[in-house]
Amino acid sequence: MNDSPESLRIAVVGHANTGKTSLLQTLLRRRDFGTVSPTGGTTRSVTAGEILDEEEVLAIILDTPGLEDSINLRNMIESSRTDRREDPRSLLDRFLASPAARDSNELAMEASSLEAAMNADVLLYAIDARDEPQPRHLDELAVLGMTARPLIPLLNFTARPEADADAWRDACARQGLHATVSFDAIVFDDAGEARLLDAIRTLAPARDDAIDAWRRLRRSERTNAIAGASDVAADFLIDAAAAIIVTEPTSRDATDREVAFDAATATLLDGLREHEARAMHRIADIFGFSGREADAALLEITDAMGGVDFADTASLERAGLWAAGTGTGLVAAGAIVDLAVGGISLGGFTALGAVGAAIGAIGGSGSKILRRLRGQDEVRIGETGLTLLHLRQRATIDAFLKRGHAAIEPARIETTVSETFTARTDDESEKLLTEARGHPTWSRLSRPDHWRAGRHPRASLALRIATSMSRHFDG
């Protein structure tokens, strides 16, 4: 491991409970860094996080205890002043060597933070932008100014509606601090991080190589994560699109066929649920989040579906999510979609269903005819359902891209059934999915199971879908 002297040293300082540890979690992409708590004074020692490129340490970021009692701290430091012209840095040195900082634990945490700050190249002054600038903040800035280190006011929680970034920019400008940067540790913004690195680069030009490498690292990390997550999503979506469950009725009797149809639908639903959850966990893992957060995201997705529950077939049918392989099923599904859009389509979906049924009847293969003769049906996911799953996968990747590693609240996946009617044509990957139709052997969910890993045409389609999805996120 190479901890080179060129490594950039950044100290994150500020008042208690302004999200310093949260900022580090997000900058380091590590949920396990430090402890975040609503109670002030949780961080009680300086902890370092290092940004690594392979074996090289690009930057060392120091998390420091909060400056809880800045009024007393400033008073204590300035009370030792004997000469008005005395250098502030020497005042600070004197304070740090004094018993007040060393022996008494009253200001020991502040002393520890100041020591870390004095050894840093750049200070990031964390601000909870929801708070109003107060005189104690000015005391903190005055004390930090004595370290003679370049300081960047960093506005945290700016994505919250209560945040007043302008008030803080104004307050900082009045203190001569103009390089204020907004960077929300909870709602991650790639551009925000880039702006922060730009600001650091401006104030620490001697470390520009490390900052450039840091920036490259994050860029490639993002690209790789998008590609990996798109791969996972494409794999799941092909499974969903290609899946066909052939029913196994005990006889050709209509009731038996219905029972078998319900059983096959339940099998497909269970499989979809399980595979979607697995895909979600893998995507969460790729972005450095835990499976627990993916579970929360799944819950949010279900909530966002406006009551459509995968476990409830009737609910799904009401939303037009399923199309059966039989002609009547397709016509029925079309009619259901009509109902779901409040009659706007003027029967268009019903017509489509009828056309689909006709094509199915004319173009059925030999095995299909045989199945029909045996009283077997095929169950597969309908177009609307597939669109919904596609949107959900895209929304999942999007949610994790915008999620800071300090976020505690569940990931919000804002996908609704209504979107399937409005957003279905804006992504080539969705169109590509239709190529998986009619290839039941490409799906792990198909019954009977003919799945075999490593089919080249499937992999080729997965790559095209994933590439198209990646393009969507790369803009």
């Binding site: 409970n17 609503p38 009692d69 209560e162 009551g307 459509v308 779901a340 059934v417 209504s418």
Partner: protein, 691 residues
């Protein structure tokens, strides 16, 4: 203390086979040790062997095709061979096939591997999938190999297979020509059933011209087969040899060499594509490390001497005549007269202001009210400032904790609870009296409580006595009775009767100070159950108006408003349905959604788009009605409490909804009674009553 969390990064292998193996080992969730990696590499090698075997098979198949086609073309039953036609068939056939396919792909704008050659990537995957011993690993290797092939090398590998097929075809065709003509003497000429001789001649001249460097200047004249031309006739023999050389060179130059070059080119392209391929990241590499080198610094202990403790608690009956602000933001709502009537000593937020306040504390005969801001973290700095003021005055101050709604609005309930607890702990440790009171949203009760504390006439402290649950029980009993009455819940008339009864019970209990709620109750009394819709709309509007202005627009209270609306079918009276639907706060509260939907179903315009018709069933309608009536009961019962306590009680009630935020589904009367019992137990327990 030193603690380091090391990243688990591995150097990237240089060969694609090893990259596939490493990625597959990760995919299968196995450790990257030598043994596992070696097994994965062997699986890839099996795949390569499968691909090579497929190429070999394609070559053999091509050879069989070429041999049989050539053999058939040379079997003339004594007649001369039409060399030009033979060359065109043997060479032109494959090229026509390739050309048509290319045109087709261009037309449909698709990139696709050659049909025959797809056997090669299929063989690659097939052999990997047949690996035994570790199905997870072999599936992972097959998956990664397919990804690698899909990234470009698969198409080229298929082209290699196809090229091998046609190369085998051409090569065996040449061999067959020599083999067959060595066995029998054949004649060559222009005889055809329908092709003119001139065409044959022209084709031969054109095709032989480029072959001059190989053949010299051949004289390709017709030569008859035996017995027309003797087999030992040297001239005929030479002429036949010229024809055979022409056919061989034609096949070699026009088919074999191009196909071999194509195959080699595709093989090289495939190799480069494989070399360029990098596995997509599915297990995120660590790009950071955590290092801890210091032990935690112990927080300062609370000096018992600094805390005035019980001594000050004795002073709680002393009235306040001055106040200071502690970190209260300038944009907070103006302070109420109960505070501003006191002498304003300013802010307690800097060294200078601290000194100024302390210098003005004056006589210790009166207390100071400290108006603190709940969203602020009560840290050491806050503690020290309060403590110093306390020491300077020698009498315990009154800590008024303002900004509760701001805190609730901006933080989660868990953080809100923690912050409240921290403030209460601080007050308790300093031995000072604290009152949580949202000064922007004072109710009549909290205003009188604040005034009482400021005047020293209401030293009731933190723990209000538990509320008597009897009136709540009475109103819940009314709901219970209405479940079996005629008409019964969820009928609107039954609901109106129910609300009327509940209002009667609670109106009798409430004192005259609660004019607003009494008025609301009076309206309920006036409600004519036969004119339910308008009447309920009226009283619900009135009920919503009674909420403090600051709370009325907030999500939690809007949820309550939604329940009131659902209960009274009347949220439409507050705002136009379209506006309600566009409010995110409404969308976030299940009860609100339930209420809106109920109204929306009846009032939405015909062209209003909706994604999903959420018509509630009977069980859900009963749940709406019972939840609505219970909410009204709790609101009445809690009158006189602090707004935070009312918020908490309603939150407890709302938590009894379904997890999706919609009202509970109550299948029948028994289910409704069980739900009411659970709601009653929760509300009473949360208010300090019996469990």
């Amino acid at each position: 203390m030193s603690q380091s969390s090391r990243p688990q990064n591995h150097p990237e292998p240089s060969h694609w086979r090893d990259r596939i193996a490493d990625a597959a080992v990760d995919d299968a969730g196995l450790p990257r040790d030598d043994d596992v990696t070696l097994r994965a590499q062997k699986m890839v090698d099996r795949g390569v062997a499968g691909a090579m075997f497929s190429i070999f098979i394609l070559g053999v198949l091509g050879g069989i095709a070429g041999g049989s086609a050539t053999g058939e073309l040379l079997s003339q039953d004594g007649g001369p061979v039409h060399a030009a036609a033979m060359l065109m068939i043997l060479v032109g056939g494959p090229w026509c096939f390739i050309l048509i396919r290319t045109i087709l792909l261009l037309v449909i704008r698709k990139r696709s591997g050659p049909l025959l050659g797809r056997l090669v990537p299929a063989g690659f995957g097939w052999m990997i999938a047949r690996s035994t011993g570790d199905p997870d690993l072999s599936a992972a290797v097959a998956g990664r190999t397919a990804s690698m092939l899909a990234a470009g090398s698969g198409r080229r590998l298929a082209a290699v297979g196809s090229g091998t097929f046609w190369s085998g075809y051409a090569f065996i065709s040449i061999i067959t020509i020599w083999f067959v003509t060595a066995r029998v003497a054949l004649g060559f000429g222009w005889e055809s059933s329908w092709l003119p001789a001139e065409l044959g001649k022209t084709i031969v001249e054109l095709t032989s011209a480029p072959l001059t460097p190989i053949l010299g200047s051949p004289v390709l004249e017709p030569v008859a087969g035996p017995p027309m031309a003797a087999a030992d006739d040297p001239q005929a023999l030479a002429a036949r040899r010229e024809w055979i050389l022409f056919l061989s060179a034609g096949l070699g130059v026009y088919l074999l060499i191009p196909m071999l070059l194509w195959t080699i080119l595709q093989a090289a392209g495939g190799h480069l594509a494989a070399a360029r391929w990098r596995p997509r990241v599915r297990n995120r590499p660590q790009t950071s490390r955590i290092t801890r080198t210091e032990a935690d610094i112990a927080p300062p202990e609370i000096d018992p001497a600094l805390s005035t403790g019980d001594r000050n608690m004795k002073n709680m009956g002393v009235p306040c005549d001055r106040f200071v602000r502690l970190d209260r933001p300038g944009n907070a709502s103006p302070l109420p007269p109960a505070i501003t009537d006191l002498e304003d000593l300013g802010d307690l937020d800097s060294r200078d202001s601290m000194a100024a306040v302390i210098s003005h504390t004056g006589s210790p005969s009166h207390r100071i009210a400290i108006v603190a801001w709940l969203p602020t973290t009560p840290d050491r700095g806050v503690r020290r400032r309060i403590n110093e003021l306390q020491k300077a005055t020698g009498i315990t101050p009154l800590l008024v904790l303002d900004g509760g709604e701001t805190l609730r609005r901006r933080e989660s309930s868990a953080i809100t609870t923690t912050r409240l607890t921290d403030w209460r702990t601080l007050a308790s440790e300093l031995g000072i009296d604290a009152l949580e009171c949202d000064l922007a949203n004072l109710t009549e009760t909290s205003r009188s409580k604040l005034v009482g504390r400021l005047k020293g006439t209401d030293p009731s402290g933190f723990d209000p006595s538990p509320r008597d649950p009897r009136t709540l029980d009475e109103s819940f009993a009314v709901i219970g009775r209405q479940l079996s009455a005629t008409p019964s819940l969820p009928d609107d008339q039954a609901l109106a009767t129910c609300l009327n009864e509940i209002a009667r019970i609670h109106s009798a209990r409430l004192d005259q100070s609660s004019q607003g709620w009494r008025a609301w109750g009076t309206r309920l009394h006036e409600l004519d159950p036969s004119d339910t819709a308008d009447g309920l709309k009226m009283i619900t509007t009135r009920g919503l108006e009674l909420l403090p202005a600051g709370l009325r627009s907030q999500a939690g209270w809007i949820g309550i408003g939604g329940i009131l609306g659902a209960a009274a079918c009347a949220a439409a009276a507050v705002a136009a349905p379209a506006a309600l639907v566009s409010l995110p706060a409404w969308a976030g509260t299940g009860a609100g959604v339930a209420g809106i939907l109920k109204i929306w179903r009846g009032t939405r315009p015909a062209d209003t788009p909706t994604a999903l018709d959420q018509t509630p069933g009977t069980d859900e309608r009963l749940g709406e009605a019972v939840l609505g009536a219970a909410t009204v009961s709790v609101l009445w019962w809690m009158q006189g409490e602090r707004e935070s306590a009312i918020s908490a009680a309603l939150s407890n009630l709302l938590q009894l909804r379904k997890s999706d935020g919609r009202p509970p589904r109550l299948a029948d009367e028994d289910a409704a009674r069980r739900w009411l019992a659970e709601a009653r137990r929760t509300i009473v327990a949360a208010n300090g009553g019996e469990e």
